[in-house]
Amino acid sequence: MAKPLLRPGAVLDGFHIDALMHAGGMATLWRVSRPDSPLPMLMKVPKFAEGEDPAAIVSFEMEQMILPRLSGVHVPKFIAMGDFEAQPYIVMEYIPGDTLYRRLPKLPLPYDEITDIGARIATALDELHRQHVVHLDIKPSNIKFRPSGEAVLIDYGLAHHDQLPDLMQAEFRLPYGTAPYMAPEQLLGNRGDPRSDLFALGVLLYFFSTGVRPFGESETLRGMRRRLWRDPCPPRKLRPDYPPWLQEIVLRCLEVQPAWRYPRASQLAFDLAHPRAVKLTARSERLRRDPYTSVLRRRFNTDALQPTVRPALSTRLASAPIILAAIDLDQNSTDLNEELRLTTARMLTTLPSARLACLNVLKQSLIAIDTTLDTEGHNKHIDRLVALRHWAEPLKLDDRLTIHVVEATDPAAAILNFVRLNRIDHIVVGARQTSLMRSLLGSVSAKVAAEAPCTVTVVRPARHDESEEEKTTAPEEQRAE
């Protein structure tokens, strides 16, 4: 059978070929449409001809395996796959608009725009990692944005799926990726670490905020390997107004040792969304590159980079959650807050990569006009921050802790909103002490437990000597006993 001709106006398996979008080294991209679907679509056709790069076939196979198994707003929706014998292709949702590559002539971008872009990409990466996939080719030309704002990661030809055969690894001994963005461990042939994507995002953030690529553009293996021991120039040296918190974030992403980077993309997204809460370490103060003595020591001690054990991707993610402790400071709740801290401490002991966000909702009245000052003239917001820090102090969390006070009329809704925005993995919340309060104000913990998109632990100090009066006002508790 003759191969169906791919040209504008032709029809292949019900798809109308509209126009050629892009002819790259590994594949050609066509805009296609189908009468029964309003969705804009893209057909990716691999270059299989004799003499073409054999990686074109394998990377097409990888995308064939991975794309149909992905879901959510951060990936193009998979539509169809062509018969391998007749005409191999993948049809996927076309994401309109430009990739980030188009922004290159305008670099450097303003800092607030960079943190916004970075947080969206980190959120998309966390979602991808949750689906067992490491992208391994994060760069401006593989990132688009939906009109609603979410980052979309495209091109899974170099990706690694933790639960599927890695044909790329089997086929090639040389690392595949994009030279300026490739993580050190990727250069050494390790394709299974989600933190490689955080390194690539760090390169992107550095590039977009300074206009300079941190490790240059060398395409030779020798040139690329320099990043194993040579640290990039601190951004603050390139731009004197560079915010120290941004340098802290970017240089942490660019750490050579994956263990020194963020343990999880959601934690990076969290820092980008809360710049003021970023714990500034020596990284943020650096104004020059490391002295040659350190560089030389690293140059001849690259063994330290060889991976030791490789836990499954899901295990890795589960060990680095963001836990939210919702603390009520309004009422006389010393016992409850003590119990909350004990429960939180138990969780954190088993999860050394977890981080804790402490949240208090400063309740606003619907009717009265609230001022930032209380009756004594103190700033309520600052008082709350101080109280939260005091609550968390015995946990000794250092840079794993952030504190947040938000103002809202509905505390439960505010907590749930914070959880969704920051991709919180686990909520610890106290139950109101007295049934009277609960019946007057409604239960915050009950609403949070019912509606949260994650696990919720409701904490209540043990009360085994409840008074008669309370039993009559709280029949539902009686049943529970």
Binding site: I57, V58, E61, D162
Partner: protein
């Protein structure tokens, strides 16, 4: 069509029952049995009777080295297996022994080849331990999918059109697409004596319409299976290893 594969049942009734029930619950329409129904375990009589019954009703069964050893005394086995084999021979009647002796070494089914061990000279019962062993099987057959067992550790190999090999240890319960551009070799885990560190019984499901294979694990009553082995007076090590999955 959904095809269920079972390899290395080794007379473990509890494990085989659990796998059969699980595969049927998941909609298996066809059963393929990849050899070694006896040896090691304490229920050869029940197992062979069950296999005969399944074959009667359309299942496909091929010969394993332990099945061959029942009638063929020159078959080489390790000491524990040899003790178990001598006991097993006394548990099977003439018709059961004839059924085992008449099983084919290999079977072709559509574009698939079923064999107990390596497809390269199947009667030599060579283990497939790595990609190089897999390459020999690929060279010996043109089937798009070869299914075998024998080593008791699940693995999935593929060979590309440019003869590059990939190897992979499957995750239980996750469907793997058998991409059309390459040929595949599925090494099944063992139903009755898993040796990959996971004591649950192993089987696999192939969805021919989607061209996807799922390696599955079924928990079973290990305690009873181990007790039966001890009660039969077989080497205690054969009972102990069931709990360890080694």
């Amino acid at each position: 069509m959904l095809i269920a594969f079972f390899a290395d049942i080794h007379a473990n009734r509890q494990a085989f029952e659990a796998c059969l029930a699980a595969a049927r619950a998941r909609g298996a329409e066809r059963l393929v049995l990849l050899g070694d129904y006896v040896g090691y375990g304490a229920d050869p009589d029940w197992t062979v009777t069950t296999v005969m019954d399944l074959v009667e009703r359309g299942a496909l069964a091929i010969l394993g080295n332990h099945d061959n050893a029942v009638s063929n005394h020159s078959e080489q086995l390790n000491v524990e297996a040899q003790i178990a084999m001598e006991w097993t021979r006394c548990q099977l009647d003439v018709s059961q022994r004839r059924f085992l002796a008449d099983l084919p070494l290999t079977a072709n089914d559509d574009e698939r080849l079923y064999v107990h061990a390596s497809a390269a000279r199947p009667q030599r019962w060579a283990y497939i331990t790595d990609a190089a062993d897999a390459a020999e099987s690929f060279a010996a057959s043109s089937a798009r999918l070869i299914c075998c067992g024998h080593i008791h550790r699940p693995a999935l190999y593929s060979i590309s059109s440019t003869a590059k090999l990939s190897s992979f240890v499957p995750t239980p319960g996750v469907a793997v697409p058998l991409l059309p551009g390459r040929r595949w070799l599925a090494v099944l885990g063992s139903v009755g004596q898993p040796r990959d560190g996971n004591p649950a019984a192993a089987y696999a499901l192939l969805d021919t319409a989607k061209s996807e294979i799922t390696y599955c694990r079924a928990p079973y009553d290990i305690e009873t299976a181990a007790n039966q082995i001890r009660k039969a007076g077989l080497p205690p090590r054969l009972a102990e290893r069931l709990n360890q999955g080694r």
